[in-house]
């Protein structure tokens, strides 16, 4: 099939100069109203922008272009959370704490080099367990040291519950780990007792209020120490309805006060099959609408991350895709050597593409703001590059944006249970669940859609359109709104 846009998948045989840009833009200036993590540089200090611009988790814009990988070198943990079951190794599930295989630091090095040679989008190496990366410190440290020697420009990132964090902040700073994620679910230890049955600290196990009190103090201390050293922090909070949902507004304010760069409120994943305390006791997770309401209520506090995919501790690839199964140990060579050519070429292409995207996007948003009326939610099928470039039936998730007189803003994503189209023909059962997933969505924009699913979604009140295929996401949404939702805007299709 002919896709005449910049195919970032096809970099292997070309150099940056060979790749044409589609519809180069000519306009100027970033009109982004949200200059935090969701837009471009805006008025963000240059040194901060430099740190986040290629980090898919810290910059919503970067997540269209850059990939991360996690290496599961840190299986040991020092606390028990009610949403986690430490016995669970699984190849088929996508959620934090789940891995296919644990790695030694040596194996991790071989894996990172192999991925860097084959996935040019790779920009970040993270250690996110499957236990706690700061508690299992010797393995985390050995991995970072070996990888940064082999691939000096890779960004190092770590995720922790915070209990052991204060012990290692100085070493993190020394190793140039400039992104640290702390999972903070409460700032009130009473609430903590409903989330953490025990912690292991200073050679003993603590339970009850005492456990949560210690954990809380260590989390706040760790956060303050990182802020003092200029290390960017992301705070992950699991939203547990009836336990800490309302309280997370207080958490947002408290972490902002202590210098947190981003706050990522994630929905509880709870299922009896996962064998977690919450799963087994029937604690439910929040709905899409409840999550969005809470996130919106926190606006104005610490910047919110809304594009988190709650990935596995061994995830590889762009957020929203997981290529981990392509890089299991048995597929990794014994001897590896890093070749920077792929990643260098990719970066050059992205730098050009990105500048064009920012321009085109700002014009599209300005058009929309001039003409839009009521807000609508639009879902987009994309496989990266910031464009509408995936077939409806191939989408494993849709990215959801709100279009209104305020512009186009990223809201979150909706996962599809099973992609609709498996080998060329769709399944009705899957379409029913896709329709349920798209609740509240006005329209789906994609690269291609068949008449059959289009009609069925239309009967469910959802417009599916491939008329905006390969446009930048914001332009596609803006043009769709202006053309089909209605308004007086004449010059709709500008970019």
């Amino acid at each position: 099939m002919d896709e005449d846009f910049v195919s970032l998948d096809e970099l292997r045989s070309v150099t940056a100069d060979d790749i044409p840009l589609e519809a180069p833009a000519t306009s100027s200036g970033c009109s982004s109203k949200s200059c935090g993590s969701s837009g471009g540089q805006g008025d963000m200090p240059a040194e901060v922008w430099e740190k986040i611009k290629d980090h898919p988790c810290y910059s919503e814009e970067a997540h269209h272009y850059f990939a991360r990988m996690h290496v599961a070198v840190a299986p040991a943990c020092n606390i028990q959370c009610n949403y986690c079951n430490r016995k669970y190794d699984c190849a088929n599930e996508s959620r934090p704490g789940v891995v296919s295989e644990k790695l030694t630091p040596d194996q991790a090095l071989r894996k990172v080099v192999t991925v860097a040679n084959e996935v040019p989008q790779l920009s970040v190496l993270g250690i996110a367990g499957p236990g706690d990366a700061c508690y299992d410190w010797r393995k985390s440290k050995a991995t970072f040291e070996a990888v940064s020697k082999a691939i000096p420009d890779i960004k190092l990132c770590i995720s922790t519950n915070g209990l052991a964090l204060p012990d290692h902040v100085d070493e993190l700073a020394k190793m140039n780990v400039d992104h640290v994620t702390i999972t903070i679910n409460m700032v009130d230890p009473e609430i903590g007792t409903k989330i953490y049955p025990w912690i292991f600290y200073n050679h003993r196990r603590y339970t009850g209020l005492e456990a949560s009190q210690i954990l809380h103090e260590r989390q706040m201390l760790g956060l303050e120490m990182l802020t003092a050293r200029g290390i960017l922090t992301k705070i992950n909070s699991v939203m547990i309805p009836g336990v800490n949902d309302e309280h997370l507004k207080v958490v947002n304010a408290e972490v902002k006060k202590r210098g947190a760069f981003l706050h990522n409120i994630m929905p509880l994943i709870s299922d009896p099959a996962h064998g977690t305390h919450y799963g087994l006791t029937g604690q439910r997770g929040p709905t899409h609408a409840e999550l969005k309401t809470l996130q919106d209520a926190c606006a104005g506090g610490a910047n919110l991350m809304r594009h988190c995919r709650q990935c596995r501790a061994d995830a590889v690839g762009l957020l929203g895709e997981d290529r981990g199964q392509e890089f299991t140990l048995n597929q990794i060579p014994e001897e590896v050597s890093y070749d920077p050519a792929q990643r260098d070429t990719y970066r050059q292409v992205v730098a050009r593409e990105r500048a064009d995207h920012v321009d085109a996007k700002s014009r599209a948003i300005a058009d929309l703001m001039a003409a839009a009326d009521a807000p609508i939610l639009v879902a987009v099928a994309t496989k990266g590059g910031g464009r509408v470039n995936q077939h409806f039936g191939h989408a494993r998730e849709f990215q959801v944006y709100e279009a209104s007189a305020k512009g186009v803003s990223f809201v979150g994503h909706r996962k599809v249970e099973d992609a609709y189209c498996q080998g060329g023909f769709g399944e009705d059962a899957t379409l029913t669940s896709t329709i349920a997933t798209l609740e509240g969505i006005t329209a789906v924009l994609c690269a291609k859609v068949g008449d059959c699913p289009k009609d069925e979604l239309s009967r469910a009140g959802i417009i599916v359109s491939d008329a905006y295929a390969y446009e930048y996401i914001e332009n596609a949404i803006s043009n769709f709104y202006l053309n089909e939702i209605g308004s007086a805007a004449p010059q709709a299709r500008s970019a």
Partner: protein, 65 residues
């Protein structure tokens, strides 16, 4: 006087290995084992056996009969 690890329940997280004050715990094959000749049940080191205190799975690091 020693502890042992119930292999069928062990998640191989390795927390016990580095908490053990007498280096009695080692990976062997697919799982961790405690050397009964080295294990002192943490007497003289800590109030409670560290392997049991840190283990995420209840009743997995237990007193050997």
């Amino acid at each position: 006087m020693a502890y042992k690890i119930i292999a069928s329940q062990c998640t191989q997280c390795g927390a016990c290995e580095f908490e053990c004050p007498t280096a009695a715990i080692k990976m062997k094959g697919d799982t961790y084992i405690i050397d009964p000749n080295k294990c002192v049940e943490c007497v003289g080191h800590f109030d409670k056996p560290q392997c049991d205190a840190v283990c995420p799975v209840p009743k997995t690091c237990v007193k050997a009969k």
